[in-house]
């Protein structure tokens, strides 16, 4: 239990907290675009924090180099995947939810607007 383990525990606990926040946002938010906003950014941040914590635990060797490779890969591709999904939803004419009273998803709101 030295200093590197304490730093690792701090980073991994913060990452698990952000995972919990992102999943609560994925359940609670009203329409697709705000859900993509929640899970796209917060999951990327949680991945970066947990990977940095594991690198601090592992030390400097080949395994931590591979962990840094996974970190860079996830930081590049997770927002790209979310952006591709949101672009496909926009092309499929899925409207953002602008109703103030509708908290339960945008299907009812879309059918009312048309």
């Amino acid at each position: 239990m030295n200093l590197m383990h304490i730093i690792s525990i701090l980073f991994i606990s913060t990452g698990a907290f952000f995972v919990l926040i992102g999943n609560i946002g994925l359940i609670r938010l009203p329409d697709f675009y705000s859900r993509a906003h929640a899970t796209g950014k917060v999951d990327t941040l949680a991945t970066l924090l947990i990977m940095i914590g594991l690198v601090f635990y592992e030390g400097l060797n080949l395994n931590s180099a591979k962990l840094m490779l996974i970190l860079v890969f996830v930081a590049l591709t997770n927002p790209v995947a979310t952006n591709a999904l949101a672009r496909a939803a926009y092309k499929a004419k899925l409207r953002p939810c602008f109703c103030k009273d509708d908290k339960r998803g945008c299907a009812q709101c879309n059918s009312d607007k048309k």
């Binding site: 995972v19 994925l26 991945t47 591709a84 496909a88 998803g105 945008c106």
Partner: protein, 94 residues
Amino acid sequence: MMQTFFDYTAIILLFISALPIYRLIKGPTVFDRMLGVGAIATKTMFLILFIGFVFDRIDMFIDITLAYAILNFIGTLAVANYVGILQSSNDKEI
């Protein structure tokens, strides 16, 4: 000490990754379901890494995690392209 911490963090992440199953079942459109699949896949990456640290075989499990991340990215892009082509061909709203 650190093994116990990895054990409990893996159990907590396992319970957290049961939350997007709600969005996976009840999501109004196919895009919500893909968001739920992506969230579960990210948590599965963390679980594989923690299992590797618990079993002390991290050099093998890191490669599995990298392959899982690549498969997640390719799968999401494939579904987005497929739904886009489907929408542009018959012009029906989801």
